[in-house]
Amino acid sequence: MRRLMSGNAALGEAAVLSGCTHYFGYPITPQNELTEYMARRMPSVGGVFIQSESEIAAINMVLGAAVAGARSMTSSSGPGMSLKQEGISYLAADELPAVIVNMVRGGPGMGNISAAQSDYFQATRGGGHGDYRTVVLAPGSVQELTEVVPLAFDLADKYRNPVIILGDGMLGQMMEPVDFDGLVRPPDYDKSWALTGARDRPAQAIYSLIFDTKLQEEHNWKLQRKFRLIEQNEVRYETYLADDAEMIVVAYGIGARVARGAIKRLRQEDLKVGMIRPITLWPFPTKALQEMAKTVSDFFVFEMSAGQMVEDVRLALEGKGHLHFYGRPGGVIPMPVELYRIISRHYYQAHAGGKRKKP
Amino acid sequence: MKGTIQIDRERCKGCALCIDFCAKDCISLSEELNVKGYFIVVFDGDKECTACRNCALMCPEVAIEVSTS
């Protein structure tokens, strides 16, 4: 059954249907509707909602809930996500599952409350101190939230790692038809490592302080082996009109929605432009890009930031082909027609007078 | 009631709180060193220990066991 829901509300509902029993959050625009939705919805399913005193408190409550074996979630935006970084580092170090939602807004600093994609570095590079990664999922529609949210809880439990859902202010507040019929609640995983009281078993401890550098190194390599496994198994992306494309746009989330509109216009003029839309920003679809680079020479990265994902595309291409970039920071959301004009200019420059050699 | 105490010499750090709080002067600092290099305390069985447990209450290392004979 389809309902019209805002992204924030749909995210909350998807979390509840995925087995999230504890939500801790602090108000910050543009994700307040999610916090408010959980305040109403959690008690109705016997779950717990707490409005914490800060984003720092919320992430630590999530840590506590995870330690006790529950599926728990918090959500925030820019300044609040920065506050959570210490807690996320601890979650990764302790190998605890957690889902953290970032509805990205303009930044840096106080920024504004418009949609942006300027927290890509923070999300995909660990974000806090130490060597670690978090899985980063970038949904592109309200309906896609119903797939990404259960996936987030599943991957968090499966790999015992924090997972970030990177949305943005537009995705959170726009309303689209959504149906939850296809949502599959992730299975329960063995959580015998959880702290439940040392009854009939030896006492267990969860900590990340390891004074001995050799042991700390070992622990780090153990985490790295996990991250390699995630890179091997959990890459997700979608392509759009890429088969015959001579230029591939790389965009995600709301950026990909704008790009889709631009590509439709470009195709009307027979410009062969297609798109790859990463759904996992970490692990990044490096192999897919490298495969495309065998036949395509032009990649056009579009982000609502001053340029963050473009670095991952550059790394993936390893110098092959030509990289074009268009970015708008500060919460600016270009219209598809604006992006269409920029891309077509780049396209014509790239193909003017047959200058481009085939790879 | 005659009391006696056992001191775990390797736990002892020679802080002497047991000595300070013993009302019967039963414990003293010795010139013996344990493995960690602390001067350890020793119990004098000839003194009038009453098993009051003050020493064990105050010992931060939980190194003292008290018994009555």
Binding site: M61 | K13, D20, F21, P60
Partner: protein, 246 residues
Amino acid sequence: MKTVYARPRLLKEAHFHYCPGCGHGIINRLLMEVIEEMDLQGDAICVAPAGCGMLLYNYFEIDVVEAAHGRGAAVATGIKRVRPQNLVFSYQGDGDLAAIGTAEGFHAANRGENITVIFVNNGVYGMTGGQMAPTTLLDQVTTTTPTGRDPDLAGHPVRICEVFSVLDGASYLERVAVNKPAAVVKARKAIAKAFQRQIDGAGFSLVEILSPCPVNWKMGPLEACQWIDEVMVKQFPLGVFKEVPC
């Protein structure tokens, strides 16, 4: 021969890393004695701090999780909200609770979270080498107040029990000490009371424990214990600051 005092079974074999004469050793022992006496080993979950108390999982034969500095009350909140049937307590020093973690402690108390905070007040930051703590006394010399704590630069010593006592959510707040046998006995009683109240669902409890830190106070162990009686209790009087009937 009858044993009238032995090491609690719930203390692991590891030797404490604490300095000679440090109050942490006494408090660690009291916690395990009480948990053993009340048969709570299967229920207890401890949240360890950053600070000298951070190695509790090496000593306590109960489930322990390490929290980031100051976050113990928030982590304990998360655990207790998932498992209200467990005995959940945080162990926090004066930096952990009264500086970086004040908001988390204050709000856990304000929400009436049914947890217990064991608050070790030794007037300095021990593990990091003796810097000023929020509980450092005026004129007290520390490594960051080398000429004595000056209120113009560093404010005044913070009295957590008093401050939390005006929060409606706080249920039981008592300040005790471990500087002499009679005080140690009272401290154990306060801990047992706090745990029993948690089991009975009475809400937020906090036991503040004045504890000697001989090395950073630059005193011998006995002198440090005496200083608590002669000087510290004047700023931090012992007693019950709140006790909601339950």
